[in-house]
Amino acid sequence: MFKKILIANRGEIAIRVMKACREMGIDSVAVYSAIDRDALHVRTADEAVWIGEAPPNESYLNMDAIINAVKETGAEAIHPGYGFLAENYLFAERCEKEGIVFIGPDSKALKLVGDKVASREVTEKEGIPLIPGMKEKSTDVDHCMAEAEKIGFPVLLKASAGGGGKGMRVVNSSNELKDAAEAGMREAEAAFGDPSVYLEKCIEKPRHVEFQILADKHSNAIHLFERECSIQRRHQKIIEESPSTALNDDLRKRMGETALKVVEVSGYTNAGTVEFLLDENNNYYFLEVNARLQVEHPVTEMVCGIDLVHAQIRIAAGERLWLSQDDLSQRGHAIECRIYAEDPENNFLPSAGKILYMKEPTGPGVRHDCGVYSGCEVSVYYDPILSKLITWAPTREICCRRMAAALNDFPVLGIKTDIEFLRDVIIHPEFLKGNTFTDFIPINLPDWRPALGDDLLDKALLSASLFSNTASQKPVVSGGSEEIPSPWKTLGDWEIGKK
């Protein structure tokens, strides 16, 4: 087993990986950019190395700086987290050349599954069901236009190199295509360094269902069942759950087998996710392989009772899979809500700034994978994900109630977040019924605004008055032993009407 691993990432995912390292007796090395000196991942690692300035391409995407940090600290392996260099086959290749273990698939498999067009070809040959679409990626708007006409509108425009919804757009008619393609290419270039896009038929009323897989370097693979990730805004998941309310045992079994087939034909190893679209008639279409630890991996961990990061590290170290498909079962229900710095009242625009105060939810069946803290600055440079709140319970109903209660008691003050919005999704009757489709938000919560009764406003005004009163009486504070004296010590006994 490795003695030291460098985590080439930041935020909640870096911290989650570092905690796994600690539990496995492995030292962890953080890397950080100039504005991340005080970030939580720096304080969670055993060692920390400065790798450059704030813009990602000068730090977290800077391969040379990261490889240097590995050498300087004597780390033997790199965990890339998600995003940044996680699915960059050139980086995996570089690691292979330098004799550093990249905790993920090898560069060849990474290159194949990362190229959506190439991976379509390989999987199509094997009879894996695919959505009709372009056979090759393009940076040519006119070519895209011609292909779109062939496929038939509406079409979905996607970045060839990327994931996470970046660059993705629904195009309903030919006169929307040019603007959409140009913007998509710009985003793809900015996010992945590759502007190529491709088009596919837009499946209406779909669900997004994905299968978690683990594959070792000795040709053994298992799947860990599904995650339903249909609740999305801006084509990005915000709520994921397992099991899916749409799958029965037969469909689950068939989709799991297809997922393992995809893994087999692409020579994929380590942890990965096979994404499918599922239509209303239970037809499923292979979308792509997410060649990384997914943001939403905790729901699988809680339902299957395994630890995916431990598994990634053990597989990368060459271990044979210690579980067979028959050892695995789903128990209870888990839901994840992604906590983003964004404004749900304003088209989910990202929000940056200082978190003046926050308090993490806790309790039985509540897990909070968190990258921020009271007093930290949320920077405009990086992905606006702050944390992930996950609940598990014996049933989906209790899991939803547990999540709603946790979201309700989760103050994050100073920046905008989606917490109130997420709570309103979770308690929505259609969500509780399990009617989760990718158009859930535009259909069920269009133009969402937080409801604010008079009663609550009065309570807020009372609280603000108490705060202002206390603040105005507050003495010089000396460190941690803050005593908040009663204002009455200085003001004496008041009565209403006296001023």
């Binding site: 970046k166 913007a183 710009r186 985003e187 900015a190 996010a191 801006r234 710095a341 404004d343 304003n346 088209n347 625009l349 990202p350 929000s351 940056a352 700034g353 200082k354 003046l356 105060y357 308090k359 405009v380 440079y381 990086y382 992905d383 606006p384 979201l407 309700n408 008691d409 103050p411 003050l413 100073g414 905008k416 109130e420 709570r423 937080p450 609550l456 406003l457 009065d458 309570k459 807020a460 005004l461 009372l462 609280s463 603000a464 008055s465 108490l466 705060f467 009163n469 206390t470 603040a471 803050e482 908040i484 009455w488 010590k489 006994d493 008041w494 009565e495 209403i496 006296k498 001023k499």
Partner: protein, 168 residues
């Protein structure tokens, strides 16, 4: 003691008094409240209002007081603080005639020119922030009277990118 707070352009006046054992009386508009209150930590209050329990978390910036109560966040303005126009629709810090972004970012494309007539909801400018392109839409119909930034410029929250003359 009296306190004033702003919400959506309205001023709210609260009279509040109490005794050393943490029993309070307060008046908001014509409603009277009696409650017990305790300051648990600098940002946390426990209020018992007719035995009903209420947790409140409060923090402040220069301009605002943020209150979390009943699972919701209410942002109150401090009267006399610098920022005007709480609750404007053109971005968090914007008012209807000034279009700004809620977050720092880079102006990718300005979609309108000085003198253009624009409709409510029409995209005016695309700003890249946190790796995403975000369309900033017009909060109102009107005429563009000034475009203060060009493609590629960096922009800070609250800086007016575009000024409008609203026709509504």
């Amino acid at each position: 003691m009296e306190f004033e707070f702003l919400l959506d352009g309205e001023i709210y006046l609260i009279k509040i008094d109490g005794n050393p054992s943490g029993e309070y009386k307060a008046v908001i508009a014509d409603k009277e409240y009696q409650f017990s209150a305790s300051n648990i930590s600098p940002n946390e209050f426990s209020i018992l209002l007719d035995k009903k329990n209420m947790k409140a978390y409060v923090a402040e910036s220069d301009e605002r007081i943020y209150v979390h109560v009943g699972g919701k966040i209410i942002k109150l303005g401090k009267p006399g603080a610098a920022a005007g126009g709480f609750g404007g629709t053109g971005g968090e810090f914007g008012v209807k005639d000034e279009i700004s972004t809620p977050m720092p970012g880079k102006v990718v494309t300005v979609l309108v020119n000085e003198g253009d007539q624009v409709k409510s909801g029409q995209p005016l400018v695309i700003v890249e922030s946190m790796k995403m392109e975000n369309e900033i839409k017009s909060p109102t119909a009107g005429q563009v009277v000034a475009v203060n930034f060009s493609n590629g410029d960096l922009v800070e929250p609250g800086q007016p990118i575009i000024k409008l003359n609203p026709s509504e």
